[in-house]
Chain length 178, copies 2
């Protein structure tokens, strides 16, 4: 993934072949396709882990938690993954994805997967519709807004703290809108 | 598009070639690719019109409209397109998309495009962040929930009325969550 992102950054996504990525990563095209369905997937495969982190945190939360508190705990678990060491990588990823429609498309699909994982986990905690879908969308919106701020080279706050702030802002906005 | 959907329904999306679609529609592969970037796009090309309808309705709304009222008017304009004659088609589309990951992916990308169109139009009406993004997401969520109900073969309500109901439910849910 690191190898792929470096190549995409230096020579562009379209100009980079799977053979080059495999070469740079010290592996083969066959092995690449054993791990990734297509070239785009190399940047997003981690999202399955992210969906699992969200779902597990919601399942493990105390009985007293409200839907938005469940979402907050899920986002804490997810954003713990985005350590300072991944900061530069995230900035690079943001630029590469923003620049290519295929990657933007895969990114929105993964985003929908995160929302679905939270919605399902909220249903399992007996949160009814449409509250579950709405809380999940708020959470995903908060995370992506915070991730954008976090991956800015000038940012020094943690991804968890930025995501908590974004969720609070959205909660306030939801009260205003309603 | 009708031709493509009929073929996808009868023989599956993967098993249908662009040549077959062009044949059925009385045209050629070259003409097909002049209109559509890829095979998937034949089912979603209308979404650019949908994004425009949303944006225009928000731009044309009275000054007194609140952000959620702007979104409601945008959805009225969008859902006016989904007339009873398109009901069977929508049901078919829902089944074909649900069944194929490539189509689900393109569908989420188009959904993100509708949210972005509303967000931009709300910014142009001086709705600040994060209210604009949130109102747009609520609107898109309402529309897709309503579209699912509308395209159910047993449904007899209009798409506009179902979308208004869904938006009301989400507004209530937003007040509860916040």
């Amino acid at each position: 993934m690191r190898a792929a992102l470096d190549l995409f950054t230096s020579q562009g996504y379209d100009a980079t072949s799977v053979n080059e990525i495999a070469d740079r990563a010290g592996t083969t095209k066959t092995t690449f396709f054993r791990h990734f369905a297509d070239k785009r997937e190399v940047l997003f495969a981690g999202q399955d882990t992210h969906a699992r982190l969200l779902a597990e945190a919601i399942a493990a939360a105390p009985d007293s938690a409200t839907p938005l508190e469940l979402v907050g705990l899920a986002l804490d678990a997810l954003t713990a993954v985005f350590t300072p060491e991944r900061h530069e990588f995230a900035g690079q990823l943001r630029v590469v994805v923003a620049d290519n429609s295929e990657l933007r498309e895969r990114s929105t699909y993964k985003r929908a997967g995160l929302a679905a994982a939270m919605t399902d986990a909220l249903h399992a905690r007996d949160v009814p519709e449409p509250n579950a879908s709405l809380a999940a969308e708020l959470g995903v919106l908060a995370f992506y807004r915070a991730f954008d701020r976090w991956s800015d080279p000038a940012n020094e706050q943690s991804c968890t703290s930025l995501t908590r702030q974004a969720l609070d802002e959205l909660r306030t906005a939801a009260a205003t809108l309603a």
